[in-house]
C-alpha cells in the first residue's frame, strides 16, 4: 500500500522520515488549510496525490506545499 502523509511540522517530518510527506505551511491543527473551503482543501489533497503518482520520487520524499 502506497502512503503519503500531510505534515505541518517539517522538523518532525525530517526526524521520522516517512516515505512520502507533503509539508504544508499552515499552523498546527490546520493541515488542509482552511475550514469550509473545499477548493483550498482539494488543492492540498491534489498535491499529496501527485506525490503518490510521481515515479521519480525517492524515499524519504519530503515536498513543500506552496499554496496558490
Amino acid at each position: 500500500m502506497a502512503t503519503v502523509v500531510i505534515q505541518s511540522l517539517r522538523q518532525v517530518t525530517e526526524k521520522i522520515r516517512p516515505p512520502r510527506a507533503l509539508v504544508v505551511p499552515f499552523r498546527h491543527g490546520y493541515p488542509l488549510d482552511t475550514p469550509d473551503d473545499p477548493d483550498r482543501q482539494h488543492a492540498v489533497i491534489e498535491a499529496a496525490l501527485k506525490m503518490l503518482e510521481d515515479t521519480d520520487l525517492q524515499p524519504p520524499a519530503i515536498v513543500d506545499y506552496v499554496p496558490k
Partner: protein
C-alpha cells in the same frame, strides 16, 4: 508552516529530548495501479469519533493506541473532536472536520474519477501518542490486516 517554536516551553523541551522512532531504511511502496483505479483510505490522528463510539481513554499514560472505524458514508458534521492536545487551536476542526479528515473531499474525488474508490471505512486515531512502540506492536498489525482485507491501494495520512 507549523514550527516547534510556536509551542509552549514545556513542550519544546519535551520534544527536544523525545526519542523519535526511525527505522534504518525508509519503507517504500510504489502505487501499483493508476489512481483512477485505486482504492483510498483516510487515516487521521485528530481523535475524531462518532457520537455512538467509545471515547478514547485519555487516562492511559502515553496515549490510547486504539482506533475507531469511521464509515465512508459518514456525515462529516457528526464527527466529534476529542483530541487531547492543547497545543493547537481546535476551532477549525470543530467547524469543519474535513480539515483533518477530508471525507467529503475524497468522495468528491471519487465522483470526478480522480481516484478509483473511497474505502468503505477509515481509521481515526488519537494524536500525541508518546509510546509509539505500543502502537506499532499491538495496534498496527491489526490495522495492516484490516487494510489488506479491504484491498486498499493507497493511504492518505493526516496526523494532528
Amino acid at each position: 508552516m507549523g514550527e516547534l517554536r510556536e509551542f509552549p516551553l514545556k513542550y519544546r523541551l519535551f520534544l527536544k529530548i523525545y526519542p523519535w522512532r526511525r527505522s534504518g531504511s525508509v519503507p517504500w511502496t510504489p502505487l501499483q495501479k493508476p489512481l483512477k483505479d485505486s482504492r483510498l483510505v483516510l487515516i487521521s490522528t485528530a481523535g475524531l469519533i462518532l457520537p455512538d463510539q467509545e471515547p478514547f481513554d485519555k487516562s492511559i499514560r502515553g496515549g490510547d493506541c486504539s482506533f475507531r472505524e469511521i464509515p465512508s458514508d459518514v456525515d462529516a458534521s457528526a464527527l466529534i473532536d476529542t483530541h487531547r492536545s492543547d497545543l493547537f487551536d481546535h476551532f477549525g476542526v470543530r467547524q469543519d472536520p474535513n480539515l483533518t479528515f477530508p471525507i467529503d473531499r475524497v468522495q468528491e474525488l471519487e465522483k470526478k474519477g480522480r481516484i478509483g474508490s473511497v474505502n468503505r471505512r477509515h481509521l481515526s486515531f488519537m494524536g500525541s501518542i508518546t509510546t509509539p512502540k505500543r502502537l506499532v506492536k499491538k495496534t498496527l498489525p491489526g490495522v495492516a490486516h484490516l487494510l489488506k482485507t479491504d484491498a486498499v491501494d493507497a493511504a492518505l495520512l493526516i496526523p494532528v
